[in-house]
């Protein structure tokens, strides 16, 4: 009864590709341990291409239209990044090749470490983490090891604001820490009194996203850092929102000790329908020895004539390896390309225009949608998707209706401290015309919510499929394709 899957298109005997016959004298396969059956589809290349091309046409992507998914920085992904990552000298090298045969790759990684350190204001960077959450795990394991090496293993508490991404408490808990939540104050900043009350001798660290998930720069960031450091804790910075700070401020300078970058957000590597991401972690001087190994180091003799030589080394107190090999190298090539394409002034412009776009859109919408924290925002802002006088309209209804206008909806229901949250991040790569069209759609929807709420409840109407039943999926779990009747061993 489901959709036609690639399995339904299978016809015994069809092939998508042929391989050469073995050139070597044959070795018989063993009798034991051979599998009896390999239930995979049999399809021609044309059928495969049509199948997946048609599937692609059911997707919305940045290449198709506006994608203001808050906290995800869905900016335009330059095509030059793709060309760069596909250069054979990058895509066709093995991670365990002798270092002397991959000096180009190591040079790129070393430079990227240096550039990220410069952008964030840090002394050292690891490129190993595979994604933002993996970078958080790296950072929090470093917090743990740091306190252990300093003879303070009793520091077992991590504080997170109530506006934090879910990954922050999940990471801390996964690393064996007790997690305590700190409320936000009425301006959307961390509540300093509540923070002070939790800063005792068990404090290991505080995880701060700044700008926070309300899109607001915490005005007390220096006080927060002072309070946490005074109590012997470390400041972890969640770099998810670093797009707002490119060339604007360096977290390492305003008190952050450890921060992960999201190369797939700030440095515009494509999100790929869910990944790959890449989550390098920068640290201040006192934590450099704790970085996961190996990192790339450079050696250059004083003569200045020889080329520098790059190799891997593992820091003294390293927390160890976070994954196999060296990280998401293909993503690093893209991010490095992006940095070169911008230079220092270009990066600052990214930060500035991301913030200008967000403030512009916020001003167009804030009279009609409630803005719970009415301040100058950074790269994103959070509205309430509800009106007291309109019953039974939820953020989700607004989001679904937005699809009818060809827009991807904002992030819904996050951060948790805003009711019916609509978290909107336009990014710097969108034109004023796009922002105007989106604002017009949002204003029309606000009107419809009052005059014709059913239009929202029944949305979307112009999408390849109607509103999907998530409860049905969870209650009747079907997690894989059925095999076609024609399937045989």
């Amino acid at each position: 009864m489901g959709k036609k899957t690639i399995y339904d298109k299978s016809v015994p005997g069809r092939r998508g590709i042929r391989f050469p016959k073995p050139e070597v004298p044959e070795t018989p396969l063993p009798d034991a341990l051979l599998r009896a059956d390999l239930p995979l589809p049999e399809v021609s290349e044309n059928e495969v291409i049509r199948h997946f091309t048609k599937l692609s046409q059911l997707n919305h992507g940045v290449d198709i239209g506006f994608y203001p998914l808050g906290s995800c920085t869905m900016k335009y992904n330059p095509k030059v990044n793709e060309a760069a990552a596909r250069l054979h000298g990058f895509s066709q090298i093995h991670p365990l090749q002798p270092e002397e045969t991959v000096q180009g790759a190591l040079h790129l990684m070393y430079q990227l470490q240096e550039h990220l350190a410069e952008i964030g204001g840090f002394a050292g960077v690891t490129l190993q983490p595979a994604a933002g959450a993996h970078g958080e795990l790296t950072g929090i394991l470093m917090v743990k090891k740091y306190h252990e090496v300093n003879g303070e293993p009793h520091r077992n508490k991590i504080l997170v604001p109530d506006s934090a991404h879910g990954t922050n408490p999940a990471t801390s808990a996964m690393s064996g820490f007790i997690v305590k939540e700190i409320p936000s104050d009425e301006r959307g900043n961390v509540d300093l009194e509540a923070l002070k009350a939790e800063c005792d001798e068990t404090l290991a660290g505080f995880m701060l996203t700044n700008p926070n998930t309300l899109g607001l720069f915490d005005e007390n960031v220096c006080d927060i850092a002072a309070i946490v450091h005074q109590a012997g804790g470390l400041m972890y910075g969640d770099g998810a929102n670093m797009n707002a700070l490119l060339g604007i401020a360096k977290p390492g300078e305003f008190g952050v000790d450890i921060m992960h970058y999201n190369l797939h957000k700030t440095f515009s590597t494509p999100h790929g329908g869910g990944g790959p991401g890449s989550g390098p972690v920068g640290v201040v001087e006192k934590l450099v020895d704790f970085l996961p190994g190996p990192v790339v180091v450079m050696e250059q003799d004083d003569s200045g004539f020889d080329f520098p030589y790059y190799y891997f080394a593992t820091p003294k107190h390293s927390i160890g390896r976070m994954k196999s090999f060296h990280g998401q190298f293909g993503v690093m090539v893209r991010a490095y390309t992006y940095i070169l394409m911008h230079g220092p002034d270009g990066l600052r412009e990214v930060g500035e225009l991301a913030v200008l776009n967000a403030n512009y859109l916020m001003h167009k919408l804030k009279g009609v949608y409630r803005l719970p924290y009415d301040r100058v925002c950074m790269h994103e802002f959070v509205l309430e998707g509800r009106w007291p006088e309109v019953e039974d309209i939820h953020a989700l209804d607004i989001s679904k209706r937005l699809m009818d206008f060809g827009f991807h909806p904002p992030t819904n229901y996050f951060p948790l401290i805003v009711r019916e949250a609509l978290m909107i991040e336009p990014t710097e790569t969108e034109t004023k015309e796009t922002l105007d069209a989106f604002a017009d759609a949002m204003l029309q929807i606000a009107e419809e919510a009052k005059t014709n709420p059913d239009l929202l409840h029944s949305a979307p109407h112009n999408t390849p499929i109607g509103r999907l039943d998530e409860v049905h999926a969870a209650k009747n779990l079907i997690l894989c394709c059925g095999l076609p009747d024609s399937y045989s061993d």
Binding site: V24, L38, R86, Q92, P98, A131, T167, M341
Partner: protein, 447 residues
């Protein structure tokens, strides 16, 4: 650089916002830290950047420049052109996690088909939408087994034949915790049966590799039986390509399958992005980490797909989630889905057989040279260990002089094995390359 703002756009927008300058928007940032200097190379044009990157990439020796016999967890395989054609499509490439299913059916159905391919290859019932790589998937398998035991069982038995990077990653994830990992000090040539003595009532999980790091393929029936008798879970880290020929972990009644999906249509790319696989039995579906796509219906009863069982995940469960994973390897999962769909049942078997044939030919030839002896005994897939008459580090330098990238020096991770090389041979190592390797090895050893 990629922003479209004209001066009049800026002026008009600032006007509406009510700010005189863009700088004014950053007053919340402490003044002493505002607008720091960025010491970075100056902006370049696309033409200049590509020129620079061409030069940098030319500073690497690729597997087209030098025949390569290096595997150890990353393998050089042929990738049909159709794979890149599909994953380069902007509709897949520039979408994110399919939180809004009505405009993400492409990604969702592709993931559903990915899950199906993984399930059919591994013999499991459930697969997630991918993990970062083989190492982190292995760490997540251990984490998952701990969750299944409600953190009551405090021990993992891990084979020394699991990839050293995976073992290191598992150690990193579990450091400073009251969780013990045993098995590492067993001899490299120990068998799955040697692990049995280490299993007890405190064991949450037994984790083995299939094929193992040395290329060996073992019958896991007895290990599974003994693991289950002790109430523990059996996790198997796989090379999925080997599963085209050999029994699946499901055939041995394994509980969790993790693994590295890179051999399924993903370029070597200096170690990433790759593809973590994580699959399990129905009964553990609520303990698996990462995203799951399930089938459902829309308001009109039309079939479609959504992310499901999200209540397991960090964005809902926060501090009570068993894993913090958010982004996965979506695009790599798509590559593997297209690769498997294209090769299908016969193609995948054919390429696996080519690997088997070439590797066994190479093993015979190399072990036929005086002073070389096959270390790997019994069944192996596309990789084997061979003892050499001189240290591998030295041998590899000589091979490189002759224009060959040799195998992996096992002494890096297994003390005492400095003279043992792990040789990988895939369908890309043609007979003439293998014969050339054998010639050079002869010369180096006896010339």
């Amino acid at each position: 650089m990629f922003h479209p703002h004209t001066q009049s756009d800026r002026d008009e927008m600032l006007g509406l916002v009510g700010a005189k300058s863009i700088e004014e928007l950053f007053e919340a940032v402490p003044a002493e830290f505002r607008f720091p200097e960025l010491n970075l190379p100056p902006q370049l044009t696309e033409m200049e950047v590509m020129d620079l990157l061409q030069d940098l990439s030319a500073g690497n020796e690729t597997h087209r420049d030098l025949p390569m016999f290096l595997g150890a967890g990353a393998y050089h395989h042929f990738i049909p052109a159709a794979v890149d054609a599909i994953i380069s499509r902007g509709e897949f490439l520039t979408a994110y996690t399919p939180y809004q299913p009505e405009i993400s059916q492409g990604t969702l159905q592709a993931v559903f088909e990915f899950q199906s391919h993984v399930i059919n290859l591994t013999g499991m019932d459930v697969s997630n939408a991918s993990h970062y790589d083989g190492a982190t998937a292995a760490a997540e398998a251990v984490n998952m087994a701990r969750t299944v035991s409600r953190n009551k069982r405090k021990k993992a038995v891990i084979s020394p034949g699991l990839h050293p990077h995976y073992r290191e990653t598992i150690n990193t994830y579990n450091q400073g915790d009251d969780f013990t990992i045993v098995g590492e000090d067993l001899a490299p040539d120990s068998t799955p049966e040697d692990l049995i003595a280490l299993i007890d009532e405190d064991t949450a999980v037994v984790l083995v590799a299939y094929p193992d790091f040395f290329g060996r393929v073992y019958d896991l029936t007895e290990l599974a039986e003994k693991t289950h008798q002790a109430g523990a879970l059996l996790a198997v880290s796989v090379n999925p390509l080997a599963l085209a020929l050999f029994k699946s972990p499901g055939d041995f009644d394994a509980d969790i399958v993790c693994g590295e999906g890179q051999p399924l249509g993903i370029p070597l790319s200096y170690g990433g992005p790759y593809l973590g696989l994580l699959a399990t039995k129905d009964k553990y579906v609520r303990s698996i980490a990462g995203r799951l796509v399930g089938e459902t219906i829309d308001v009109n009863g039309e079939p479609g797909y959504v992310l499901t069982l999200s209540t397991r995940e960090q964005h809902i469960k926060r501090g009570r989630a068993s894993s913090n994973i958010c982004s996965n390897q979506g695009l790599m999962a798509l590559a593997a889905t297209v690769y498997i769909s294209l090769l299908g049942k016969d193609g995948l078997r054919e390429v696996a057989n080519l690997n088997y044939q070439n590797a066994h030919y190479a093993a015979r030839k190399i072990s036929g040279i005086d002073g070389f002896e096959l270390w790997t005994d019994g069944l192996f897939f596309n990789e084997f260990a061979v003892r050499c008459p001189l240290p591998v580090a030295e041998l590899n330098e000589r091979l490189l002089d002759a224009g060959i990238i040799g195998g992996y020096e096992l002494g890096q991770n297994y003390p005492g094995m400095e003279d043992t090389m792990l040789v990988a041979v895939t369908e890309m190592n043609r007979k003439e390359d293998i014969d050339y390797l054998v010639e050079v090895l002869k010369e180096v050893a006896h010339g």
